[in-house]
Symmetry: C2
């Protein structure tokens, strides 16, 4: 009936290699073309299958695309500005370091919420968290340096890191709790490492780092920084910071470690991933923090990225502390967590995001996810998150569909694994 996608196991090697030969066009980028993202393949499968049987019947857990609308206040603010403001002020160039009102609104909000001391000059507006991480890493690494990430991790970290010329070093997963495998971390934290990249609440696990984890991480970074004679930077990717479930607190990493560059996106909290707006916030306790923000402005010149759209910066400033109604994600998580556990899946309960990360029912999670497609269940094998044997479900979909998917999940598990 349908053709299952072929997964590439070696996707992660795609982005490396800066010194390849070439003829007419840059072979490094050309080579990347062959390696289609597994997530994108699955999403394309889901769309194609939807055309056959109706998309409402495809249990598409592949994409992390917010399923709830932007707050009405954002839309109202946009319309009001378009109706009343001078078009030149609204659509004119932002200063090269970003719209001052937006920067001030971000600083004030972070100070209020996390007891920080940011000024506008510590905030650099970017094209989403992607732009934030790419800028932060360029500011603090040079080609040949190492950047540590923790498995499982978002596969786009690879081009962000290798795009700077640095190398990515992967700490194997702590599959018990999906906190940090500290033994392996300390082993890999050599004096070639200039930055450590974390993501809590986490994509793909949905896990939030505990205060204990963040404190221990900060202690190690301080100790090793002293030993190495330079400050190791913590790059904290925080697009899911606002999607937290009942009773879960998410420690703000910069509060625990001064040399933190917090990378944020409004994509998930305000449900506007297409508008490409986020920021880097450099901790004022770092004497280089304002220099780093200024450097980000210089980095933008070379990549041609510049500021996020002016009107979007201005509108976000007006709704800075708001979020979309994010409650559906917790509802969906509770349904899935209960059913998955009942079906015998090994799974750690998410503390936030819209992801859950169970262990597959066979060692080969690619085979597992391929079998699931027969039941119109689109699950993402965790091989591309550097954590084979697991799979990710992105439950940013209607609760009704989550509920209907349970029957398919039960049939899949029974027919394929006899449970």
């Amino acid at each position: 009936m349908f053709c299952a996608p072929t997964f590439h196991n070696k996707e992660q090697s795609a982005a490396g290699g800066r010194e390849k030969g070439y003829i007419m066009i840059n072979e490094t980028y050309k080579e990347m073309l062959g390696k289609k993202s597994v997530i994108r393949q699955l999403s394309e499968f889901a769309t194609a299958r939807g055309k056959e049987i109706g998309y409402e019947n495809v249990y598409d857990y592949s994409l992390g695309n917010p399923s709830v609308p932007v707050p009405e206040e954002f839309t109202k603010a946009m319309i009001e500005m378009l109706e009343q403001d001078s078009p030149m002020a609204l659509h004119g160039y932002s200063p090269s370091l970003g719209n001052p009102e937006f920067k001030q609104a971000v600083a004030d909000s972070l100070n209020r919420r996390f007891g920080m001391n940011y000024k506008a000059s510590h905030i650099f507006p970017t094209s989403g968290a992607a732009g934030a991480i790419a800028h932060a890493l360029r500011a603090i690494t040079k080609p040949g340096d190492e950047v540590i990430v923790f498995a499982p991790f978002f596969p786009e970290y690879i081009p962000y890191v290798t795009g700077t010329g640095a190398e990515i070093v992967v700490v194997p997963a702590d599959t018990k709790a999906f906190q940090i495998n500290f033994d392996k971390f300390e082993e890999l934290l050599t004096d070639k490492v200039k930055a450590v990249l974390i993501n809590s609440p986490n994509n793909p696990t949905g896990i939030v780092y505990s205060e204990e984890t963040v404190k221990r991480l900060a202690d190690i970074l301080r100790k090793k920084s002293q030993e190495f004679g330079y400050n190791i930077y913590l790059v904290s990717d925080e697009p899911y910071r606002e999607i937290l479930f009942a009773g879960v607190e998410c420690p703000y990493p910069s509060k625990y470690y001064d040399y933190t560059l917090s990378c944020y996106s409004f994509s998930k909290s305000l449900s506007l991933p297409g508008e490409r707006i986020g920021y880097v916030a450099a901790n004022p306790a770092d004497p280089d923090s304002e220099t780093i923000v200024n450097m980000c402005g210089q980095i933008s010149r070379g990549t041609g990225h510049n500021c996020p759209a002016s009107i979007i910066q201005q509108a976000c400033a007006k709704v800075i502390d708001m979020t979309s109604d994010l409650s559906v994600y917790e509802t969906n998580m509770n349904i899935l967590y209960k059913e998955l556990t009942a079906l015998g899946f090994e799974v750690v309960k998410p503390g936030g995001t819209f992801y859950i990360f169970p262990k597959a029912l066979e060692e080969d999670s690619i085979a597992f996810c391929n079998k699931a497609l027969k039941y119109d269940l689109v699950l993402v094998p965790a091989d591309s998150f550097a954590c084979p044997g697991y799979f990710r479900m992105a439950y940013c979909i209607d609760t009704d569909k989550v509920e209907r998917s349970i029957a398919a999940l039960k049939r899949f598990v029974k027919e394929e694994y006899g449970r």
Copy 2:
């Protein structure tokens, strides 16, 4: 009364050097911080002086910031979408190669206007022309390659080129007509050159390349491509394409040379520079054109830039063939051209843009522009455009101010140069 800015003559060397040592943060970018753009310094001077005497009394010809509003139809389209469209469709992720309707609208418009055969798949949406040039150059060069530019040129070309790791090679100006100095060009066009970057209508001269110039350029590129055994790319920076004065035609370079990547921005034609929207259009006659567009998508992953804002792409698609009322620029040019010539300035009449580029009245154009500041005339010395001895006036200001500035200009010329 005021403190004149100090100009840095060596600004152009700022962006080079990839292999500098560093301690904690990347020294290449840190070093760039010291070198403030002359244009920005002058603009800051104008703002500060405006606070003293009223900005209406500062004849600020420093910045190329459009002075006319966006077309009403753009504002209406934005409001209509915000009121009627699904927020998820409006603000959701664009596909990684851009919004399909925007790409199709661009392709159709270029085909209609220039007799081309673009499909949506030949168009890559970018963050303005800056993003377009940065992506195009990354696709077709590798570190160590050379990219040719023609003096005088927009100083941001330096970070765009050096940001890819390529080296910039400057062809000296044809100061007679500000077309192309072909003798010098052929001399510098060695087999290290992988791309040639042009800009017509031109910033800073306001000059439009004649059809003869474009044809001759194309002929040389074809001849040399054959000789070298690879296709030299023409990267054509075209943000001023729509600002043309009476009787002037601007040949579309891609029509004359297949291996052209046209880099566009809606900044000037629609007066929305802050919204950061433009594109790369790859000529379908180049067998690699679609590959290059796909490569741009991969390049974006590493720089973290991704697409321009989703709502801006959708709104631009709806007003694709419109422009702001650009007639004020021609009015201003005619006033300035007449008065400058009457005052004895040597100046080539602009064919478009909102720039004019006269020869200074002394050899040292920095000294000349510093003297002009005493008369509240903010002129930009062309040293940073690699054309010392000249200066740029950006006349994207009210006609009233242009008229009032003439008295100051006359006083300046009389008191300082006795004319």
